[in-house]
Each structure stands twice: as structure tokens, then as C-alpha cells.
Amino acid sequence: MNNHVELTFKSVSENEAFARVAVAAFVAQIDPNMDELTEIKTVVSEAVTNAIIHGYEEDSNQDVYISCTLTDNSLSVLIEDKGMGIDNIDLAKEPLYTSKPELERSGMGFTIMENFMDKVEIISYPGEGTKVKMTKDLQTSQTMCK
């Protein structure tokens, strides 16, 4: 199975649910298990929320980009914003660290992404935006049939 989809949507919080459901629907074609689907929905939700809150500081007139690729039983997701970027990526990745404690952020976003996916890569430049590239190998029923 080789397939690809791209999405662009406005940086409004209503689209957090849209994004995770859309990616889950795309991945459903290779028949992932329920745990894998939940993990994928959660990490998409985390990265899109980061783009909206941190990348664009809740400016709803910006765009968030998602690109998903399925190669055999591996999923690759790229979530991108063209917002303010991250000054210190190592600090941002620390569990419980948040740059916005006043908004009751838990600081667990990147920790969850790293726990639920096989690989997480963050490419970010201040003033240019942030790309979060994540990959996950899925234990699909196709694998089990081999």
C-alpha cells in the first residue's frame, strides 16, 4: 500500500477534531488496531494544537498543513505551521515544560508524540514556523496474515 494525502485548514480550534479524524480515516485503509488509531489521533491533536496555540498564538486567519504518506505498513505524518517557530526545541520537548502556563497547558505534547510514535523530528526556525515529522510502523492485519 502506497498512498498520500494533503490537507490545509484554518488555524481554528474546531479543526483539531477535524484533523485527527481525517488522519485516522486515511490510516483506516490499512486496518490499524484501535490502540494505534487512538495513538495517531492523539499525536495529530497535539501537533495541530501546538500549531494553533504556539505557532500562530491563536490567530485564526492562518493555515495549518498536514501531509500523510502510507508506505507499506508505515505511516508518516508531517504537520506544519508558518508561525513564530520554537526558540529552544530541547526545552520545548522536556516533559511538563510549557511556554504558556497561564493557558493551563500541561507541557506534555511532545512527550506524548514521542511515546506514541516511533520517530518524531522537529524542524523549527524562529520567525519561519515549525514542522513536526512523525513516523509509525503499524501492526496491521496484513502483517499478521504474512
Binding site: E14, T42, T49, I52, P95, E104, S106, G107, M108, I112
Partner: protein
């Protein structure tokens, strides 16, 4: 799916039942409603029932942590019950179970606070 919230007060316990999906979008309204409920006369403890919660991400952890701090100010305790395995993983990952007690269901949670349901 939108988040539906039901608040019930029994003696000094506020029961919060969530149904649907808790993310950054739904967390904003939940925070306001929950804070309003905590201002009710005599409320001290909170039981958070997640039996019908279908999805939660780290924004949910933030709201729970925020309310935990307010319950602590009231001298009360926060208990979470009927947690599904996916949400349990998030709570474990963030260390929230070190400060928020886990009970199997609402009845156990109530009786642990000395309230007959």
C-alpha cells in the same frame, strides 16, 4: 463530537461527568463551567467521572491539573474514576496519578469520601 458536561453536587462533593471528546477546543468552555461549579457553597471535593469520555489529549491534562490546584485550595481532594486505558496512559505519563486519586467507579469514589450514594 462535542463535549457534554454534567455537574452534580452531593453533600460537599462535585461530580463532573464528561461525555465526548476533550481537547484544546472543548477545554476552554469546560474550564469556565467547572470553575463556576467550584464556587458553589460547600463544595470541597471533586469526582471526575470519565466513563463516557471518548478522546482526550494533553489539553485535558492541563484542565484537570488546573482544577486540582483549585480543589487543593478548598482543602479538598480530587478523584478520577471509570478511566479507559488510553486516558490512563496519559495520566500515568504526566504523573497526575501522584496527586489525583484513581477509583474504579463513581460509587467507590463517593464512599471513599464518606458519602453514601
Amino acid at each position: 463530537m462535542q463535549l457534554q458536561t454534567q455537574f452534580t453536587v452531593i453533600q460537599d462533593v462535585l461530580i463532573v461527568r464528561l461525555d465526548g471528546e476533550l481537547d484544546h477546543h472543548s477545554a476552554a468552555r469546560l474550564k469556565i463551567e467547572w470553575q463556576e461549579q467550584l464556587r458553589h457553597q460547600g463544595v470541597k471535593h471533586v469526582i471526575l467521572n470519565l466513563d463516557s469520555l471518548q478522546f482526550m489529549d494533553s489539553s485535558g491534562l492541563g484542565v484537570v491539573l488546573g482544577r486540582y490546584k483549585e480543589v487543593k485550595q478548598l482543602g479538598g481532594e480530587m478523584i478520577v474514576c471509570s478511566v479507559n486505558p488510553a486516558v490512563k496512559r496519559l495520566f500515568n505519563m504526566s504523573g497526575l496519578f501522584k496527586i489525583v486519586r484513581l477509583e474504579m467507579n463513581e460509587d467507590y469514589a463517593l464512599s471513599s469520601l464518606g458519602v453514601a450514594s
